[in-house]
Symmetry: C2
């Protein structure tokens, strides 16, 4: 129970407490934690001696705080919980609550490297059927390792940032043409944010997942399917992805997701030793995709074939180092049903089956002015539900 008005019973109660970076109309960006419809100014709390975090909370990103490591993450979370639940602290803490409407949310962390995986079997199968009809939907390597690639860290933007329609080359029967993408799509994903780095040349075992990963964001990995289809052989996606990747303003700490870990789908064939995670756990995050406000899909993250711990072990098996701020995303989250897919490519089956909206409108891919919002909930303690921060973006015309 918290003394903060309206927070108890909300999906942003004291069992949640995601971290973000905010600023007011005047003032520098600083770390805050969300409680109900308020942001607790953690930088102010640290200045006042209410929280100890080595000065990391007055910074314009979460990176310094994330670099402190799990014992410190846990200690700060415990202390914040104490401040927000013990009425004795109310007088000191209440002046540090900023109404959400007055907080301008910033990109919560400086992205070091951004890796995008491809870990939903349903998504990979759907894409295979759409692009390679009549062939096996999964490529031979897919069940042996979590396929992934590096994306552009510099174009990761915070939720709410407008997305300029990308231009580029696409193939036509008359040859390639250059212009604004005509098959602009989303990818609903879950991203994992690394706090604690690892040395070059070493591996990070799957078991060390929670020592390195600070928390979770929602991700919309905007994708220009026409640009991607023409450019991607043989070195993979490039400009079809690199124009923008949106992340939620709130980073949900792993500590808030204790009740969300669930057994992951069984893996057959058995995986390589370095990919064995015991217990083999996924996360029961229930995503929802809204297209211009209409709920068009509900991707279930619990169906992902590869787990975040396996992805981390794979990412580093070759000795690649981790840095604070590394972001790795799950890949598009798609469940087995049409109403559970995480891309419009799948929802409209390659653009052949338009989505019909309640107002009579239809869509295959994104039009200028369209807004897409991805939300998610997770099981909290005692049958409650917590919310992940939403990721939203509006498409604006190509320049």
């Amino acid at each position: 129970m918290t003394w903060v008005t309206g927070a108890d019973g909300s999906p942003y109660g004291v069992a949640n407490l995601p971290y973000g970076v905010f600023r007011r109309a005047e003032g520098a960006p600083r770390v805050g934690v969300r409680i109900g419809d308020f942001v607790l100014d953690l930088a102010g709390a640290e200045e006042a001696g209410l929280v100890l975090a080595a000065g990391a909370l007055g910074r314009p990103t979460l990176n310094d705080f994330m670099a402190l490591g799990r014992p410190q993450w846990t200690a700060v979370r415990q202390r914040v919980t104490e401040l927000l639940t013990d009425a004795a602290h109310r007088a000191a803490v209440e002046p540090l609550l900023v109404p959400l409407a007055e907080a301008r949310m910033q990109l919560p962390f400086e992205v070091a490297d951004y890796v995008d995986f491809y870990s939903s079997e349903h998504h990979a199968s759907n894409v295979g059927q759409i692009f390679r009809p009549g062939q096996p939907p999964l490529l031979p390597n897919w069940k042996h390792l979590p396929i992934g690639y590096h994306g552009r860290a510099g174009t990761v933007v915070v939720s709410g940032t407008p997305v300029v329609r990308p231009s580029g080359q696409r193939a036509t029967p008359q040859g390639p043409v250059t212009g604004p993408s005509v098959r602009l799509d989303i990818e609903a994903e879950v991203g994992f944010v690394v706090g604690v780095p690892s040395p070059l040349g070493d591996r990070v075992p799957a078991d060390d997942f929670a020592d390195h990963v600070f928390g979770v964001v929602l991700v919309n990995d905007w994708s220009a399917r026409d640009i991607q289809a023409w450019e991607y052989q043989p070195l993979g996606p490039f400009l079809g992805k690199s124009f923008a990747t949106s992340v939620s303003a709130w980073v949900t700490p792993l500590d808030a997701l204790g009740d969300a870990f669930v057994p992951a789908p069984e893996q057959d064939p058995p995986v390589a030793d370095y990919l064995c995670d015991v217990p083999h756990l996924g996360l029961d995050l229930r995503l929802a995709v809204r297209w211009n406000g209409e709920r068009v899909s509900e991707p279930p993250f619990a169906t992902m074939y590869w787990t975040p711990a396996q992805q981390l072990a794979h990412l580093t098996v070759n000795g690649a180092s981790l840095r604070t701020g590394d972001l790795y995303a799950s890949g598009t989250v798609s469940g087995p049903e049409r109403g559970q897919v995480g891309s419009f490519l799948e929802l409209t089956w390659g653009g052949t089956e338009p989505v019909k909206f309640a107002d009579g409108g239809t869509r295959t891919f994104l039009e200028d002015g369209d807004t897409v919002t991805i939300t998610a909930t997770a099981p909290g303690p005692d049958g409650t539900t917590i919310a992940l921060g939403e990721v939203t973006g509006k498409v604006v015309a190509a320049r």
Copy 2:
């Protein structure tokens, strides 16, 4: 003519003046410029009021200096030239010369995003013939756009850093196995370093190349061919590349390469408007690859099909922003002859034709303990030659 002993007539004379970051046994990293066999301590020069650069030269990377832009780059270069050529400055400047042997070179810039292109027609054709015999060596998109992908910025290391042999999965007739790579290779490349950023959503025209790009490094994009071959479908190279990418400690400013620009190979079919660079210029950089000291190849950068200005225009045509410290590499530099290739994959034709060394030894791919050094020269003013900083690395056993 410089008053610095031994510098005139050397490939590091006053027409060169590459930038780097160094430290002495004690003391913090700081910016320096190479002249002959010395490093001029530019941070010291700025502190003494001999050079003006907004305080950017006392920093541990070149990033702040590179962010200042071309007018400042040119002004500092002119001033440094003055200091090193006018004997009137000798008394003040000579104490700031550090013998190269006492300077520990650091990674010269903090890498923002790292992009690797694939712009040598000879390399792409060779790889096509080796991996897809009997099929057209170039894929249909190759002559329409500079193929590229994002690599791992966090594992870019400075020349001299040992390279730990990567482990990972590779395919065998009995199925995938995990272990140290058995086909470890190099890629001799040239990298371009961005100084001046660009806004998200905008394009950078090819003509603006010199406003954004600060200078050039040599790159060894170490590659585990067996890991890459198994993982790369459909999203491109990942762990086969991400374990290490070495760059030279010295960044040669574009201003030093004025005599090295030469007409690039003609392009047929004609390229899209946004890829037209007028004049269409490549760089006459003459690379040399030494394997355990023996010169095994001399890749000619002037043969590259796509120019660095075209690569920059392509990289941003979708509105992707540039950041200070972005590095984009050319892709493996291979000329038309076997003795001009930039990878051992090509030199040994997929491992089927071992290299024979003078001492009787042979190699297909890299063994533990092997050292590879890539050097390059370029035409300087008045028939002289300047050198680019070498990039070297020794392979050490997998952990």
